[in-house]
């Protein structure tokens, strides 16, 4: 039994070493962070951030936030992907551009409930999807060995239906602090 445990540990160590070595060659980056997403002047929702950037400077990012107001729950997810590159002339700053898929979810009552007249109140919920563009910049504030941290500032731009003809944009601006490591 003890031998089996040692072998399993050695096998796990070998796999981790192999993955780490491969990761160094490719320098993928995984980051977790906190963000604030604006909802008009003087109002921002706290959000969780996760971002993966490949060695080809392709990134995938998720922002998730929400709130509960009594029986009403809201959850908004912003899934973005695109390309990142240093700003020519100011290489410390990186520009992020791509597309964002937004899912705004609203539900009233988390499940079925019985009304006062003994009838059943079903859960009411809906998803609203929108596809838009992402434009943003990031600046590193800490880089050491495989670990790094950065500040981000980005806007997710959505055409407001047919009003897009009049250049109307729906905007979700976000500010983030993320820390990560090279895989």
């Amino acid at each position: 039994m003890r031998l089996v445990c040692w072998r399993a540990a050695l096998l796990a160590l070998s796999i981790v070493s192999a993955l780490t070595a491969a990761g160094r060659a490719h320098a993928h980056n995984l980051e977790l962070g906190l963000a604030g997403v604006s909802g008009g002047d003087d109002h921002a929702d706290p959000a969780a951030l996760v971002r993966f950037t490949s060695d080809a400077q392709v990134f995938v990012q998720g922002l998730l936030y929400g709130a509960d107001f009594g029986p009403v729950s809201t959850r908004t997810g912003l899934i973005s992907f695109g390309l990142t590159a240093p700003v020519k002339g100011m290489e410390r700053l990186r520009i992020y551009s791509g597309l964002t898929l937004m899912d705004e979810y609203v539900s009233i009552y988390s499940g079925e409930r019985t009304r006062s007249d003994n009838t059943t109140q079903p859960k009411v919920s809906e998803h609203n999807y929108n596809l838009g563009a992402l434009l943003g910049v990031r600046a590193p504030i800490y880089v050491k060995s495989r670990f790094s941290a950065n500040l981000g500032w980005e806007s997710h731009l959505f055409l407001a239906g047919s009003a897009g003809l009049f250049l109307v944009l729906g905007v979700k601006q976000s500010w983030s602090l993320a820390a990560g490591m090279t895989l």
């Binding site: 008009g40 020519k88 100011m90 500032w153 944009l169 905007v171």
Partner: protein, 156 residues
């Protein structure tokens, strides 16, 4: 509506004159300076932007002057009066700087970043599209006005 009226009361011509004065102040004998006129509705912190007016109202307009050293001055009602540095790579550019910000909750100070596209470089008139995001503080808290605009840039 009331904020629009109050913004209008600033005086259109005063702002235009200010743009001209600032542009002249930045002038240099070097070659590739540029002026751009951009139209588009702004997000002033009131939950979304209004459609661009026909004809465009003063709040829909931004005038930019870019010096030969790529220093830019933006004159607009929203996001405001901005000074910054443009970093251009062929037909794409990023600008960053700071200035006076204007939103529905009043005037403040802050920083901005612009992302832009021009259809060409060199002397002449080119298509120009730009989105500006800003972040700052005013007497009522923080503010983040922005604007997506399109128009023309004249390089000379």
């Amino acid at each position: 509506m009331s904020h629009r009226m109050s913004l209008r009361s600033l005086g259109h011509w005063r702002c235009v004159m200010l743009a001209v004065v600032l542009s002249l102040a930045h002038s240099s004998p070097a070659v590739a300076s540029a002026v751009s006129l951009l139209l588009g509705p702004a997000s002033a912190g009131n939950g979304g932007s209004n459609p661009v007016g026909i004809p465009p109202s003063f709040g829909d307009i931004a005038i930019k002057y870019v010096s030969s050293g790529y220093y830019e001055t933006t004159v607009s009602l929203v996001p405001g009066l901005l000074f910054g540095k443009r970093f251009q790579d062929r037909q794409l550019y990023v600008s960053t700087g700071g200035g006076l910000l204007m939103s529905i909750s009043g005037a403040g100070v802050g920083v901005y970043t612009s992302f832009g596209l021009v259809s060409g470089t060199g002397s002449g008139v080119h298509f120009n599209a730009e989105y500006t995001q800003s972040l700052g503080i005013n007497g009522k808290g923080w503010t983040a006005p922005g604007a997506g605009r399109i128009g023309a840039i004249w390089e000379f």
